[in-house]
Each structure stands twice: as C-alpha cells, then as structure tokens.
C-alpha cells in the first residue's frame, strides 16, 4: 500500500491505513515479517507504526478496554538504534511496495 500512513498489527493481521482518505488494506502477518516482529513485538495487544504523522515511531498498547489502553510505550524513530532503524525502514518499504 504505497500511500500508507499508519500500520497496525493485531494478532495475525497487518492493517494499513491512509488516515486522510480512510482507506484500509489488510495483509496476513506471515513469517516474512519475523525480522520486524522479533525486534519490536512483545505482549502488546496493538502495535502501531506511524510512518511520518505525527512522527515516525512505534507505539505498543497493552490491556485495551473499551478503546482505551491501560498502558503504552512509544519508541520514536530518532531514538532507535541504527540496527532498529534498518529494520523499521525495511518493514515500511515492504508494506509500501505491496
């Protein structure tokens, strides 16, 4: 999805959104994304990749009840290690090329 602005991963599905047009495309979370999940995923219910808006980052949300998470973590792209940045870049490129 070339125009993706936000990527959400819930259980075994990748949801890609263009938040301006409200368009959504889904992809199965297959083993080809293990390189990304192994680095960034843990026990979160929702993993969100903001590509540029409001900033490039990964957010993880835990214990979501009634659309409100009890906790979340935010890892900004600028705070990632160089290795993490490569992984993040590769993942976003893969999604955009689909």
């Amino acid at each position: 999805m070339e125009n993706v602005t936000k990527i959400d991963i819930i259980v075994d599905t990748i949801y890609c959104y263009d938040e301006i047009t409200n368009e959504r495309v889904n992809y199965p979370l297959t083993s080809e994304y293990d390189f990304f999940m192994n680095e960034f995923s843990d026990t979160q219910e929702l993993l969100t990749v903001n590509i540029t808006d409001p900033i490039a980052r990964i957010m993880k949300f835990y214990t979501i009840e009634n659309s409100i998470p009890k906790s979340f973590t935010e890892l900004n792209y600028s705070d990632m290690t160089e290795e993490q940045k490569v992984i993040w870049d590769s993942f976003v490129l893969m999604i955009k090329s689909k």
């Binding site: 301006i20 409001p54 659309s67």
Partner: protein, 407 residues
Amino acid sequence: MSTQINIASSGGATGIWGISNSSGVYTYYTTLTLAMTAATAGQTIEMFADVVETGAVTVTLKNGVNINGNGHTYTLNNSGLNHALSAANSVTTSCNIINLNVVRTGSTGSLFDNSCLILGINGSGVINCSGSTFRNSGSGCGILYNSSSIHEINNAVAYATTAYGAIGIFTNVGAKLNNSIGYGTSGGTGIRCHNGGDIQNCTGVSDSGTGIHGLGGNHSNSVGISASGAGFFSAAISSNCVGRSTSGVGFDIQSATSIINCVGMSVSGVGLYVLAAYIYNCTGISASSRGLQLLSGAVAYNTTSRSTSSYSVFANSSLSEIYNSTIISNWNNAGGIGISSNNTTVPSVILNTTFLLSNASAPYLFNGPAAQAVSTRGNTYRGGGAYSVLITQAIVAVEDSQGNIFL
C-alpha cells in the same frame, strides 16, 4: 441433539412442535410449517428439541402466533436461497419469537437471499425476539428488512459475516430496531442501516468491518464497536451514539445530516472523522492519533477533541469552522499541536475555544506553507506555544458599543 425431521400432514401425539389448547393439552406437529398452519392468533408454538431442516423450506410467520423455542435451535441447512423464517409481504405480522435460536447455513446466495428472518416488502408489525438469536453462517443476513418494510424488531441478537449486516435494514419507510445487537464476524457489519431504519439502544459489533453502518435512518443511544474497522459510520442522523475502534476510526461521519452528542474513540485511529458535515456537542478521543479530523468544510460546535500522544485536531479545509470547543493534546512533544493542517490550511473561524496543550513548543495552530488569515476570538490557551507564523488575524472590525463584532 439435532433431529432430522420427517414431513407429516397433521397434528398428533408426537412431534417436536406443540400447541397447547386452553386446557393445557398439547397437539404436536412434526414440522414448524405444519404447526404454523394449524395455529391461530393468540396461540404459541413450542419447540421441544433441536431441529435441522435440510429441505428448501421457508416458514412464514403468522400474525398473532408466537414461537417459544425453549432454548432450542432451528437450523435451515440448505444450499438454496430460502430464508429460514419470513414475515410475508404486504401484511401485518406481529408476534413473539422467544428463546429460539435460528441458524441459516449452507447457502451462498446474495443479498436478500437466505437470511434467518426476512421482513417482507410493504409488511408491518412488531416482532419481539427476547432470548432469541439469529445466526447466519452462510452468506446472508441474520435479520433482513426488505425494501419498504415498516416492521419493528425488539430484543434480537443476530450474527452474520456479510457486509450487509448481521441485521440489515434496506427500507426507508420507518422500520424500527430496538434494544438489539448485531455481531459481524469475518469482516461482516454488525448493524447496517442501508437506506433507512430507526435504531434505538442497539449495539453493532464487528471484528474488521463496521460496527454500525448508518448510510441512512436515525440512530440514537446506540454503540458501534470494531477492532480494525470504523466503530460507527454515519451519513445520516445520529444522536447520543458512541463509536469505538481499536485501530480504525472511532466514529466516521461523512456528509451526515445531523450528528449530536456523539462520541468517537480509538486507540490508534482517529476518534471523530468528519467529512463535509456539522457536528454538535461531540467528543473525539484517540491514544495515538488525533481526536478530531475535519475535512471538506466540516464544522464543529461544542466539540471536545483529545489525543494522548498526537496533535489534537487535523483540519485541512479553510471552509471548516470550530466554535465553543475544547482542544486537548496530552502529548509532551513539539508535535502536540492544537490544530494542525499538515501543510495546508486550518479552519478559517475558531471562536470561544479552549486549547490545552502539554508542550511549550507545540503551536496552538499550525498551517503552511502559505500565509492564512484566521478569525480567532474569545479563545483560551494553556500549555502550548504561539501560532504558526503564517497565521494572521482575519477579524478587522472592532466591537460596537454593545460589545458585538462582525466577522
């Protein structure tokens, strides 16, 4: 336990379906069709075991004849287009269907085919469904209001996988749905008001589809929930409704007639997405996206927008306006802006609005790349930074002697 039924012609001493007379003596029937044929208004057909019907059978409900399933399940497993139950066209059918589970499976027909219960064209009547479920594991709806139906359904629970809805309302002449729940699975819609339908105190739930899809009708005191789709979509009239989503838009409003006292909530999606519509007394909340998104001249009155970790409002149309609202960003980041246009224009009128930001470098209004004059008056600011330098004051008039001012 499921039982394969045999066709018998009349009532007798045995059968899964029974009708009691005034003395409490039952006459039994081997099929629901036979029991329905024999029943008269005021009587109740009771069910005493589960049934799987494999024939191309639709049971037509009779006005005043009730069904008590006693918790049993009636399954129509047939590849044809038959509905399991039907309220006939152009007649009044009022009855109670209680404690009955209706399953329609095995069909791949299209819309208006193979529902658990269809409400006929130009038909009317009130059908109370307390304790009953309508589950379609094929391609049809759980409950389908056909065109020009003015039926009223109460207390139903329906399940389906179709985008046309576990409960699909395809009539624009005043059909009602009260206190009911529609569950859409595998991307199906929970409740769909396609071109009408007054829904009250209803809940629509979907996994990746839309919880409540309100293309038409009036929606009040209802809740739409989705994991990755929009919780509630409205292009019609919605009041006192809530849309919730985990990763999609909480409340998606597009060219709606009237949106009053509604709430949109999402974890990573936009709380309230408003395209070319007016909203009144509404609230948008998001954890990682914006609370409110105003597009194509959308106008917000008395609206609250809150984001935990993004800017509060995205608005990219100078035709948009914001009145008497509260704009909150709890994001302690220079990007925790009040209203951002993402490099286009912000709303041209922003009056009597309170901005509560969390970072001193975050501008209350941010636009670009061109200069823009905005009418701002009576606003209160806390916690943020100045406007974008590209924004100037559009109000040039001064107050008259009574304190009035012309924009």
